[in-house]
């Protein structure tokens, strides 16, 4: 990134970065360090001095079945909603990329869900999937409580998976379509000249060339499902029933702000941070590699 022509006014350079650096220190590094400190200590929420306790908080959460439940729930949620949203988005992007009549109008609407706030998405789906109103509960006329996310864990899981996938589908669609449209048209034409039909071209040319995007989206979707799902869970299931949808980020919030147990919340935050950082590193390593098609 070295430029030949650069300015060299140090004071100005410093003044320009100062505001953001200050913000980042105060609202990013400080809290992160503090979370680390809290994770290794116990403390009264406000004031008082902390007691250094080493790994005790971590031992405690790792020996807690409720915590492992939330890990498990998060993983199930991540896998299901990632698979669903990526699958649907890929299919739609491939269809739109064929540029049949009207594709622009469809494409336009496919973007929309991403603009909508997670709790609004949650509330909309909570209504559609409500046990006693909306639409899906119509099947309860066959047998009572065939569908009831307020009582059945898997129904609740399905509900938040669908809501989250709906939102992420739009996001994934945008990326898939951008990637598809960056494939030179000549490649598709060359394959057509080589005798390859529409489906075969999708399989042999388009999808392989989408691999980097697919991988990127896998990581992003898993991360988002760990992080951004709070709004959906909070408003649809509240982690229930019986902790069936008690995602990690939701549990951190409940332990920290409802249970006021900052140490436990901090220790869980640290674990989640490492998960997210790990995923991000995987992605960076891959970004290095994916240049090679260019």
């Amino acid at each position: 990134m070295d430029r030949r022509a650069t300015f060299s006014n140090l004071w100005l350079a410093g003044a320009l970065v100062a505001p953001q650096i200050l913000l980042v220190i105060v609202f990013f590094y400080w809290p992160t360090v503090q979370a680390l400190y809290w994770a290794f200590s116990t403390q009264p929420p406000f004031g008082g001095t902390n007691q250094w306790v080493g790994w005790q908080n971590f031992q405690q959460i790792f020996s807690d079945a409720v915590y492992w439940n939330s890990v498990q729930v998060s993983i199930v949620f991540a896998i299901l909603s990632t698979a669903l949203s990526i699958g649907m988005a890929l299919l739609l992007a491939l269809m739109i990329d064929r540029q049949l009549a009207g594709h622009k109008a469809y494409r336009f609407v496919y973007f929309w869900p991403y603009a909508i706030a997670a709790p609004a998405v949650g509330l909309a789906f909570r209504f559609i999937f409500a046990p006693d109103a909306g639409f899906v509960s119509a099947i309860n006329q066959l047998a009572p409580n065939l569908w009831n996310p307020a009582l059945k864990g898997w129904d609740a899981m399905l509900l938040i998976v669908i809501a989250n996938s709906w939102k992420m589908m739009a996001y994934n669609f945008i990326f898939f379509l951008a990637a598809l449209q960056s494939i030179p048209r000549g490649l598709i034409e060359a394959a057509a000249m080589d005798g390859s039909g529409v489906l075969r071209r999708a399989r042999d040319i388009q999808i392989p060339l989408l691999a980097p995007t697919l991988f990127f989206l896998l990581v992003i979707n898993i991360t988002e499902s760990f992080v951004d799902s709070f709004g959906i869970v909070d408003i649809t299931t509240g982690g229930g029933p019986a902790r069936a949808t008690d995602l990690m980020v939701f549990k951190i919030y409940s332990d920290g702000f409802k249970g006021l147990d900052y140490s436990m919340a901090a220790a869980q935050s640290i674990v989640l941070m490492f998960l997210v950082i790990g995923l991000t590193f995987v992605q960076f390593r891959y970004i290095e590699k994916r240049v090679h098609y260019a």
Partner: protein, 302 residues
């Protein structure tokens, strides 16, 4: 006639494609439609299973009720202030930082770049608890900072709870925009900087007269993304506003429905009216700024 993008005729496949596109349309639009329809009926109608799919005549009444009951006007204004604050703050700070990192030569610039870049890894949600503590007394890290430089100052506690500053600043403190600007600035040829310097322009003049006009597209893209991001914030405002006058529209959704686990079901027609009110502003931004939105999303996340 073949459609524009097609190479060969494939009538069957085209039919399937159209079907899938229509199915996709239903999937994408149906929930939004349902929210709208539900917000136009009275309570008994809305609670019918399945709910009717055509609009009712209680639209005005439902919205008026929601609007008055939870003072939605004030909450929308709060949301707007926060969204604009984050958007403007981000566009400005990110441009300044990227300008410094890309166009000035100094030792620490790679360090600063990485220090800011790493923030991309950890979204606000995973460090929510300590960030809350900082907002409760933002002077604490400042005291430490000053102490690091060898001073001891009795800075009085600064409480950002229930303030716009508290709602806005933590959302500005990430690298999204910085990274986008940096990528763009790096594409600006050295010769442009050289030409500007030959014309006698100093750094600030170059920034204002060359970089900013050239960055217009990127700014629009970033602004669209940031507006949507900030408007849709939920957890953060929920934590740091206890005063109803500071509540944002998005977090208000939690207040107007009973908790999922207990109590009676929500008053659906009003809940859906509120939902629609919350979804509309970012949706409209996306609809009117479609190009910028897509560009912004693809650019900021890579």
């Amino acid at each position: 006639m073949r459609d524009a993008g097609m190479i060969e005729r494939a009538p069957l496949l085209n039919a399937v494609t159209h079907l899938l596109m229509i199915a996709g349309l239903l999937v994408a639009a149906f929930p939004i439609y349902v929210v709208f329809i539900a917000s136009t009926h009275d309570l008994p109608t809305v609670n019918r299973v399945p709910m009717p799919l055509w609009p009712g005549d209680h639209l005005v009444q439902n919205y008026a009720t929601v609007w008055n009951k939870s003072d939605f006007g004030a909450k929308m204004i709060n949301s707007l202030i926060v969204a604009l604050g984050v958007t403007i703050g981000k566009i400005t700070l990110a441009a300044l930082t990227a300008f410094s990192i890309v166009f000035f030569r100094y030792r620490a610039r790679m360090l600063i770049f990485w220090a800011i870049f790493i923030t991309l890894m950890l979204p606000l949600e995973v460090r929510i608890v300590p960030t809350y503590a900082v907002a409760a007394d933002v002077a604490e890290p400042l005291r430490w900072l000053v102490w690091l430089f060898g001073f001891e100052l009795g800075i009085a506690p600064i409480n950002l709870l229930n303030t716009y500053t508290g709602l806005i600043l933590p959302l500005v403190a990430t690298a999204t925009g910085t990274f986008l600007y940096r990528q763009f600035f790096l594409t600006i040829p050295d010769t442009l900087v050289e030409a500007a310097r030959m014309d006698g322009a100093g750094p600030l003049r170059f920034f204002w007269e060359h970089l900013i006009p050239l960055s217009r597209n990127n700014m629009a893209a970033l602004a669209t993304i940031m507006f949507v991001y900030a408007w849709n914030q939920y957890l953060w405002p929920l934590l740091i506003t206890t005063d109803a006058r500071m509540a944002t529209a998005t977090m208000q959704l939690q207040k107007i429905v009973p908790g999922p686990l207990f109590g009676q079901p929500p008053v659906w027609n009003e809940a859906m009216a509120a939902t629609l009110l919350v979804m509309m502003p970012p949706l409209l931004v996306v609809i009117f700024m479609q190009g910028a939105f897509v560009r912004g999303l693809v650019a900021t996340d890579k």
